[in-house]
Each structure stands twice: as structure tokens, then as C-alpha cells.
Amino acid sequence: MTLSRPAKWAFGLMAMVCLAFIYVPLVVVVINSFNASQVFSWPPQGFTTEWWHAALTNPGARSAALSSVLIAGAATLFALVMGSLVAFALGRYSFFGRQTVSLLIILPLALPGIVTALALRTAFKPWLGTSWEWFGVAVGPTVIAAHATFCIVVIYNNVIARLRRMGTSPEEASMDLGAGVFTTFRLVTFPLIRPALVAGAVLAFGLSFDEIVVTLFTAPADVTTLPIWIFQSLFRPNQGPVVNVVAALLVLISVIPVYLSQKLSGDPGHAGGRM
């Protein structure tokens, strides 16, 4: 678009302010992870890598990270199936109550976290004592179920957007050429919606990996996801510096999923999926 020069500068300036707002606190976290002082105060008093060593050898943080990965993975898989099913139903058929279903389905994401958390805790209470051991860490069916519930929306949003954009002609063509329902899905539909599935899955995984409000309310006693570990450590004495390191690490590795989703969707300007 042709913009006047002052307008371009104004937008550029606003964008820079916005980026500074986004990154200054994250930079502070990273710098602070090398702060020699136990008690936070700015500017830092000295430099140390002691906390990095402590954090990287912290067994609690490592098993919490594994637990988060397993729970996010299971919730994402479940949501992939459920979310795609709903997306096909709503995107390819018109039926009575379609509008209502489409509204109800986004509620788990649109309602405030504390509401979902409290509702699920009340409902899941009888199963809060149940946990499974996967690869040596405890995971909870209640957390997976809770996470899956709001992950479904993310998958649904991505798949239905893709279905809308794609139209029905490729599938019609396939059927006209004699392919059945399953063959058409396998050879035509699935390859076409794969980017949306990937984008949705990455987002759902991230959402689950980072979730704390619902997790705190639905996790069995021995299940410690990474956010729970951070939360508990924040509220334990002298764990601040170690939390800083884990925080800095999370900031740094968050580049990976962003890179992945842009790469896999094949569109550099892709926002990495739709919420």
C-alpha cells in the first residue's frame, strides 16, 4: 500500500514501542538469570552461572518438563480427532442447531479460565486421586481431559477455516472420478487440510504446555507439570534464581515451535495458526 512518509514513520515508531514493550521484560528475565544476588533488585549486583548449573541438573524441573510434554501430547492427539470431526460436521453440513453447536464449541476457550477450572474440578473430583505413570513420570487423566476440552476449539478453528477456503470442488471431483468416502478423505481431503492440522496441533500443544489455571485445579497430587513446578517454586523460598533460568530457557526455546509452524505451513507470513 502507498502510505505517506510521515504515516510510515508513525506506524514504524508505534511498532517499535510495541516490540520494546514485548521484549524488555523477557530480556530482564534472561539477564536476571545471571544475577548473583538471591534477592532480586535492579540493576544486578554481580554475574554468576551458578543458577544455570543448578537448574540444568534439577531433577524436579526435568521430570516436570517431561510430564508437560506427555500431557500436552495426549491432549493434542485427542483434540485433533475431536476437533476435526466437529469441523467437518459444521463445515460440510447444514443442520438444525448448527449455529448453536458452533457457539458452544468455542465456550471452553471464550469463558474465563477460573470458570472452566472450577467447573472441571467440581466434576472431576472423584477421579483426582487417579494418576498414571508414563515413562517414569506421573500424568493425570483429569488434566489430559481438561486440556483436551479447550484444545478441541483450536483444532476446530484451524480446520474449519481451511475447509471454508478450500471449498468442496476437490472432493466432488474425486467422488465424480469414482473414489469412495474413505478414499477421497485419504487421498484428497486429508492432504489438503494437513497444514491446518499441523498449525492447530502446534498451537494446541503450546496452549496445553503452558496452561496453569485449569491445571492447578485438575491435577492429581503427584502430577507436576512444568507450569505447576514453576508456580510451586515461585512460592518456595530461594527457588527464585532457578525459576529465572527455567524462564529464560523457555523464552529461548519458544523460538522452535514458532519456526516449526511457519516452516510447516509453508507461508512465511503465516501467524502460526488461529486461536
Binding site: M1, T2, A7, K8, F11, G12, A15, C18, L19, F21, I22, V24, L26, V28, V29, N32, S41, W42, P43, L85, V86, A89, Y93, V101, S102, L104, P108, L109, A110, L111, P112, I114, V115, L118, A119, L120, T122, A123, A145, I152, N157, T168, E172, M175, D176, V181, F182, D210, E211, I212, L226, P227, A247, V251, S254, Q262, A271, G272, R274, M275
Partner: protein
């Protein structure tokens, strides 16, 4: 949409596939059964249980819910000025967060979609999305250190000017929540702007509109649904927060803190309190739905 259903039926026998092909209703039922059952049982069942609990009372001594229907909890909420104040304060904070996020986020989105050269776009989007992946708690914690009175980063920046910084409280909560949910505003707006063809903006310019006029009369109305879509997240996520306010809010109470603070001692009251944000959000969704925002999520 119905084209698939109306396609001519072939007479090749392919078992289940053919059976399904001939019965779009059966296909639909097969698609919907599992997810609808799941959501109905796990989510709406739970919400329903919560709603029901809000009409119970608690035992004076043991704090356990007593299943006797009463409107006491709702009466407490709306007759006690303290609770009305909390609700209003929470809505005000959530609204401020939404407005600030829109004011910061929309120009940012426009800058990425329409100003930056195409080859930089991917990098810019990545820059906006990356913090979304840095843990929620990490970001709140970052603001705790930013806002720490006297020895925090903000205080350190402001001290040379003789200012002391806001410390912990409503301002810190608003800033932190804006920070947390800003990407949720930028992304839908960016997606909306990306769909907006450049030719439309050029046409506006060709017809003599200056930049300001084009932005106001062409861009803004067209991305408005996207901004509203973003506002659903910024508003809802702020409305239900209790962790941020606990960490940087000092004495500030929000709806979420009241729910969190009373679910252990008075679950029915907490449930009644939790229906307030549900009502607010359902009303909000009903209103914004007309703008077509739900399709821009």
C-alpha cells in the same frame, strides 16, 4: 455446502463407504457423535454442575455444600456493595486491557501486514508470536521484577526523573494483563488485514483519500470484526484472571480472586460468583456475534 449431498449416486458396491455416501445424515451423525458427547459430558456437564451448586448453601461448621435450593448466594453478591465493587472493578480492568491492547496491537498488525516489506513479514510475525510461547507464569514473574517498588526495573528507569513508579496494584495488574494478552489481539487483526487486498487501499488513494482517510473509512471498518475477535480473548482472559492479580496486584481483588479465595470455604458461593463472568461473557458473545467476529477467531 449441500453440493456433496446432492451429487448423483453411483451404483458401485463399496460396503460401508457407499452406505455412508448415500446417507449424509448418517455421516453427519458419525462425525458429531463423539465430540458432542464428549463436550456435553465433560464440559457442559461440569458447567451445569457448577450452576446447580451455586443454588446450594454450605453447612455452617463443616463448609460442605448442603443440597437445599436457595438464592442466598446471589442475594449476597448483589446486596453486598463490596462484591458489586469487585465486579465493576474487574470489568473496568478487563475493558482497559482490551482498549490498550487494541490501541497498541492494531497499529502493530497494520505495520506488519501493510508497511513492512514482504520478506520481513515472517520475521515480524515470529517476533510477535514468540512471547506467546514463553510461559504465562514467566511473563507475570517478569512484571513482578519490573514493577518491584524502589528496586524494580521501572522504578530504576523512573528514579532519575524523580518519579517512583506505580509499584504493585491496579496499574501493575492492567499493564501485566495487557502484556500477556497483546498477541491475542495482534494475531487476528493481522490475519484480517492480510485478507484485505492492497488494491482496495490503492483504490481509495486513487479516489483522492489521504492516508488518514483511507485508514479511517476503509481499513478500520474492514478490520473491525478482527479487532472484536481479538477483544473476546483479551476481555475474557482478563475477566477470569486470579494469578496475575495475586502476584502483582498487592491488595487488589478481582472476580477471579474472590472465586479462588472462596472455593475452598464456600463452594456454592464461589460457583455463584463464577456465573457472573459466564453471564458477562455470554452477553458479550451475543453482542459481538452480529459483527461476524466469531468467524474471524
Amino acid at each position: 455446502m449441500t453440493a456433496v449431498q446432492d451429487a448423483p449416486v453411483r451404483s458401485r458396491s463399496m460396503g460401508l463407504s457407499t452406505w455412508l455416501y448415500r446417507r449424509p445424515r448418517a455421516r453427519l451423525a458419525a462425525l458429531l457423535a463423539a465430540p458432542v458427547l464428549w463436550l456435553a459430558l465433560a464440559y457442559f456437564g461440569a458447567l451445569f454442575l457448577l450452576l446447580m451448586t451455586s443454588f446450594y448453601t454450605v453447612d455452617d461448621f463443616t463448609s460442605l455444600p448442603v443440597r437445599a435450593f436457595s438464592l442466598d448466594n446471589y442475594q449476597t453478591i448483589f446486596s453486598n456493595p463490596a462484591y458489586v465493587k469487585v465486579i465493576l472493578r474487574t470489568v473496568a480492568i478487563a475493558a482497559s486491557v482490551t482498549v490498550i491492547a487494541a490501541l497498541l496491537g492494531a497499529p502493530m498488525a497494520f505495520f506488519i501486514a501493510k508497511v513492512v516489506p514482504r520478506r520481513w513479514r515472517g520475521l515480524m510475525v515470529a517476533l510477535v508470536v514468540t512471547p506467546l510461547w514463553a510461559s504465562y507464569l514467566v511473563k507475570v514473574y517478569a512484571w513482578k521484577t519490573m514493577m518491584q517498588p524502589e528496586t524494580g526495573v521501572v522504578a530504576w528507569l523512573l528514579n532519575p526523573f524523580g518519579l517512583s513508579g506505580p509499584g504493585y496494584g491496579v496499574v501493575a495488574v492492567t499493564i501485566t494483563l495487557t502484556y500477556l494478552w497483546l498477541p491475542f489481539m495482534i494475531l487476528p487483526v493481522y490475519a484480517g488485514l492480510e485478507r484485505l487486498p492492497d488494491s482496495m487501499l490503492d483504490a481509495s488513494a486513487d479516489l483522492g483519500a489521504r492516508t488518514g482517510r483511507t485508514l479511517r473509512s476503509v481499513v478500520l471498518p474492514l478490520v473491525y470484526p478482527s479487532i472484536v475477535a481479538g477483544s473476546i480473548f483479551t476481555f475474557s482472559l482478563s475477566l477470569g484472571d486470579y494469578i496475575t492479580v495475586q502476584i502483582v496486584g498487592s491488595k487488589t481483588q478481582m472476580l477471579g480472586s474472590v472465586v479462588y479465595g472462596s472455593y475452598t470455604t464456600d463452594l456454592p458461593f464461589a460457583a455463584a460468583m463464577a456465573t457472573v463472568p459466564i453471564a458477562i461473557m455470554v452477553a458479550y458473545l451475543a453482542i459481538v456475534r452480529r459483527t461476524g467476529a466469531l468467524d474471524s477467531l
